[in-house]
């Protein structure tokens, strides 16, 4: 790089030696955006911190609230962003979200066959397997076999509904509330909901096992 970019480089968080081409490119892009006044270094830092704070626990909190509050569940179905705002989650970004409620007869599972679309704005980055060619190609073709490999064996009377996130919506699965969880607090209920439940490759843990 030329001396021209020094203004951005002085905020550079570390050495450039040994960076992958993508990491090097993102460093240069960030430096240029700062230099041209599009973003400040502080804005970038705050956005990185916000991204790293997102976690499946946020999704678990949303699910637990839906389990205990039928009015919240109804709103979550109709207007995801308005519902999650009530539990302090901001879903007002560019993509729309939709909650997919599992029922006695329908089990939902989410995939993105084209790339790796995922409800990142709510629950952070996807696991590596979600981005694998095997998961992406097999989940639409043989969903039951894929779910079985995750240890989820569904009875034949349950319909598996695979949602391919091909466009402008992102999906969060709301698993069924497990039996035996009647006396639990909202916080205890949230602990039964793993990241895999929110993708649909698992069901909520039973209170005994948790």
């Amino acid at each position: 790089m030329s001396d021209h970019h020094d203004a951005g480089q002085e905020h550079d968080p570390g050495p450039r030696v040994g960076l992958s081409p993508f990491a090097a490119r993102s460093r240069v892009l960030a430096a240029l955006l700062v230099e041209k006044g599009v973003l400040t270094q502080d804005e970038i830092r705050r956005q990185v911190a916000a991204t790293e704070r997102r976690s499946p626990e946020t999704g678990a909190r949303i699910v637990a609230r839906a389990w205990v509050d039928p009015r919240f569940a109804a709103l979550l179905r109709e207007d995801f962003a308005a519902a999650v705002a009530q539990v302090g989650v901001d879903a007002s970004g560019l993509v729309q979200f939709e909650a997919l409620f599992n029922t006695e007869t329908v089990h939902n599972v989410v995939v993105c066959t084209l790339c790796s679309c995922y409800p990142r704005a709510i629950i952070g980055n996807p696991p590596d397997w979600y981005k694998s060619t095997a998961y992406r190609s097999r989940t639409v073709r043989e969903p039951r076999a894929v779910l079985a490999e995750f240890g989820l064996h569904l009875p034949p009377e349950v319909t598996v509904r695979v949602h391919d996130s091909t466009a402008d919506l992102r999906y969060l699965v709301v698993p069924r509330r497990p039996s035996g969880s009647e006396g639990l607090s909202e916080e205890e209920l949230a602990a039964l909901v793993s990241r895999d439940c929110l993708i649909g490759v698992a069901v909520a843990a039973s209170p005994v096992a948790a």
């Binding site: 039951r144 091909t166 919506l169």
Partner: protein
Amino acid sequence: MAVRPSPLAVGVGVRVRTTGPSGHVRTPGYLRGASGTVVALLGRFPNPERLAYGAPAPLVALYRVEFAVTDVFGPADGASRDVVTADIYEHWLEEVQDRE
């Protein structure tokens, strides 16, 4: 591309077009030519096939279409009732009049 004068109704049978523009396309290859059913109108969004290139991107209707897994991939062991849904822009869908 002409915009459909009236929206496709929920429950209508549709077939996914087999041809389309090259480049950034949000209609998966495995669904090209497949027949399914409209289950929801999701709204209108800037056409991603143009948006991806910074071109003026008119709003196009986005539908959720449901397909039987066996219709798309052929008969499988015991998965006859399982379905795949995908979100597909209107210009990829043609209405099917005579469904079996």
